[in-house]
Amino acid sequence: MKKLLTITVMVLMLLGLCACNKKPEETPTPEPAPAPAAFDPSAKSEGVMTYSEFAAANLGDEVVIEGFVQGAQSYWQGAKFYVADPDGAYFVYCDGKGEDINISEEDYAKIVASTDYKEGWKGICDGTKVQVKGVKAEWSGEVEVSEATVTILDSEKWVAEAEDVTALLGTDALIEKMNKKVKFSDMTVEASKDADGNDVAFLYNWDGSGEPGSDLYFNVSANGTTYNFVVESYLCYDGSDVYEAVEALNIGDKLDLEGFLYWYNGANPHITSITVK
């Protein structure tokens, strides 16, 4: 009797403990996959704009685009990611807080191929196709799809080739490449000034007011003109290859760089990889 009672009480207690747990969410039954069709990365669903149509739209217009996710910033006070198709590129901003963000953190994780939350954010993506509905907006010169609602599409993936835009630096034509995956060749690291006026190869934050984990700013030159580039920490966090590569730079190093051509009151490339020559 004693044993029976004890075991009964234990079973009841276990039941009690289980009652404190959250009910697991039911997994929706996946729908059967459609028959495979010939893959065309330029193909759009009905009612979706081409890149040219998007470029021609006015600021404030509602837009619907489709493309392949090339990079994604961390899920923090909104979701921000870089989308491309063979004709052009877009910056998508699902603004808001918490449930106000029009893509769930779970769905966002599906479009970010190489993220490891424990190790830090490395939001380089492998080309998941998405449809984005939103409003064409401009923020400090950056043209984006804001107030975006995102649907992940069942499609083959596609990754854009980086386009070399070194020759366009300092020209008006560079803006045509906004948001694209781009590369810069044979650039030279130039000095930045730290808080004490010393020459350094990079700064944590634009004025050196940060610390490891902050955005990294560094100067590079081509043909005698110097440009300021950034490793955006929400895109490539402390510990990523590019972040560590910039921390190891020396003034005078020769580099090839790759990244997304973001715009902030002018060209502000978000660098994602560096090769020191």
Binding site: M13, G16, C20, A137, W139, N205, S214
Partner: protein, 526 residues
């Protein structure tokens, strides 16, 4: 077997007792008799700066000076540039008991931190303590006494009738005006601007020539009025009208007819393009400095970015336009009754198992409100020291007197912004702080942002729109879940899980009672 069962039984019993409760929390902090100086301490300080290296340098110097006075206390600095990040990290670290010792915070955030048991140290006894309190006999530096604090700022740190923070710096909002353009439009600038005035001038600034250039600046871009913080905008407008926002007990009152009227007024000017926000258009300072904005409302702590001669610039030299900048209070509904928000960082101390460590944290916190730190930090932006001792110090008065003597340390606009707050301390206000007040603040901003976006898109803004918006915002910010302290609402039926748990406990106790009774009967019969 019996032993094993007993052990399992005990473990399960313990788990049932603890399972549905949170952490038991730390002991209430009690001030030690004496500070033990014969050991070493390592404390962490999580600090926020405005992406401003001068502020970082003030923090570093403060730590260095403090460690010289107390060489056995090492302070580790962690830098942030975003209050939300600090808040997020603190919340994460509360659950793992790895909070910092001292942390820059907003009172709204502290109200959430202190929902944990004894997580944040109540400072009242420390403030008053004869040995280690403000101006205490055993404090080794010249810190302020309690009566040398600005009382209004100290009172802002009261949550649930106790001080859970010390103010660190205070700022407000200021209206930065392109005076050149306002006069070009044919208007004179009054000492205190009204909302009607600012919207009228903003609409007038939208006139274009036949090529589509704005007449006032000759450019293709002009957003006459940009507000950086739309939560402050809504809160300030409601306060100026003495309209409801929230009560001290956490009752939400923002969804009123007055709020609708304010939003209707804003929507008209958002639709015309006369008004925009930071979230929609970007930093007001950038547009102001490029001659593309006439009225920019931002923190007084953003003054170093404002104006043609601003020491900090975010646009290229080629985009910069030459104009005269002046600083005024934010627009008012009643020019004779100025109301402006008080904001700025405060310092809270997290509780630890070792009261000596908490005392070390308290001494460092006090050091951060000593004159050298207060004056040093206030000079980095349009901040105001939180102590009368610093405000009246020769060094600070000398700093204020040199306004305009250069475009760096003594930048005119920055010092004008500081003076604006110093002159209006009695006109400042704060909003009630409770668990959920941070969400309400976000919701206030969201009302303005959503209305502006809808107006720009040409949506119909009417009562039906506001009904829907209020419902959406209430749900998104969980305002329907913010419980007022004195709420006597019916909480509804118990959840099923709670019923199962309570049932399990009841059955367990009944079985235990039966077992006990049988044992007692057995012993009696033997």
């Amino acid at each position: 077997m019996r032993k094993l069962l007993k052990v399992l039984f005990t473990v399960l019993l313990f788990m049932n007792i603890c399972g549905c409760h949170g952490s038991l929390g730390a002991q209430v902090f009690a001030i030690p008799e004496a500070f033990d100086e014969n050991r070493s301490y390592e404390i962490s300080f999580w600090a926020k700066n405005d992406t401003n290296i001068n502020q970082v340098n003030v923090y570093k110097k403060a730590i260095s000076d403090f460690e010289e006075i107390y060489p056995f206390i090492k302070v580790n600095l962690k830098l942030y540039t975003d209050y939300s990040r600090i808040y997020n990290d603190v919340i994460t670290n509360i659950s793992t008991n790895t909070t910092p010792n001292v942390c820059i915070s907003y009172p709204d955030h502290i109200a959430t931190y202190k929902t944990g048991v004894n997580t944040v140290v109540a400072l009242d006894e420390l403030i008053e303590d004869g040995k280690y309190g403000l101006g205490g006999s055993d404090v080794k530096f010249d810190g302020p006494k309690k009566n040398e604090m600005v009382e209004a700022f100290l009172d802002e740190c009261i949550i649930d009738e106790q001080h859970y923070a010390l103010p660190f710096m205070r700022s407000s909002e200021a209206l930065y005006i392109n005076k050149t353009y306002v006069e070009k439009l044919g208007y004179e600038i009054p000492d205190v601007l009204t909302w009607d005035y600012i919207f009228e001038v903003s609409e007038a600034a939208l006139a274009k020539d036949e090529d589509g250039n704005y007449l006032v600046n000759g450019q293709k871009i002009m957003i006459p009025f940009i507000y950086k913080s739309t939560d402050n905008m809504m809160i300030s407008m409601l306060k100026q009208l003495d309209a409801p926002y929230s009560k001290e007990d956490g009752t939400i009152e923002i969804f009123s007819d007055t709020t609708r009227d304010i939003l209707k007024q804003i929507s008209k000017h958002a639709e015309s393009g006369a008004f925009s926000t930071f979230k929609i258009s970007s930093y007001p300072a950038n547009f102001l400095n490029a001659g593309q904005c006439i009225f920019a409302i931002d923190s007084t702590a953003g003054a170093t970015w404002m104006g043609s001669n601003a020491p900090l610039l975010d646009i290229s030299e080629e985009q910069l336009v030459d104009f005269e900048t002046i600083v005024k209070p934010i627009p008012q509904f009643d020019q004779k009754n100025i109301r402006m928000i008080s904001q700025g960082p405060s310092l809270c101390i997290f509780n630890k198992a070792d009261p000596q460590e908490v005392l070390a944290s308290w001494l460092f916190t006090q050091f951060l409100i000593s004159n050298s730190v207060q004056v040093g930090y206030a000079m980095t932006e349009g901040y105001v020291p939180v102590t009368l001792k610093a405000q009246n110090s020769a060094e600070y008065l000398d700093y204020l007197s040199k306004a305009g003597s250069d475009n760096k340390t003594y930048y005119q606009i920055k010092i004008d912004a500081s003076k604006l707050l110093v002159d209006n301390i009695d006109n400042t206000f704060i909003t009630p702080v409770f668990n959920g007040s941070a969400s309400l603040r976000d919701a206030a901003g969201s009302l303005v942002e959503n209305t502006c976006k809808s107006a720009r898109r040409g949506e119909t803004i009417n009562d039906a729109y506001f009904d829907s918006l209020f419902e959406k915002v209430t749900s998104l910010y969980h305002l329907d879940q913010v419980q007022s302290i004195e709420s006597d609402k019916d909480l509804g039926p118990l959840p099923t899980t709670a019923k199962i748990l309570l049932g399990t406990l009841l059955v367990s106790w009944i079985l235990l009672a039966i077992y006990g009774y049988r044992e007692w009967r057995k012993q009696k019969t033997q």
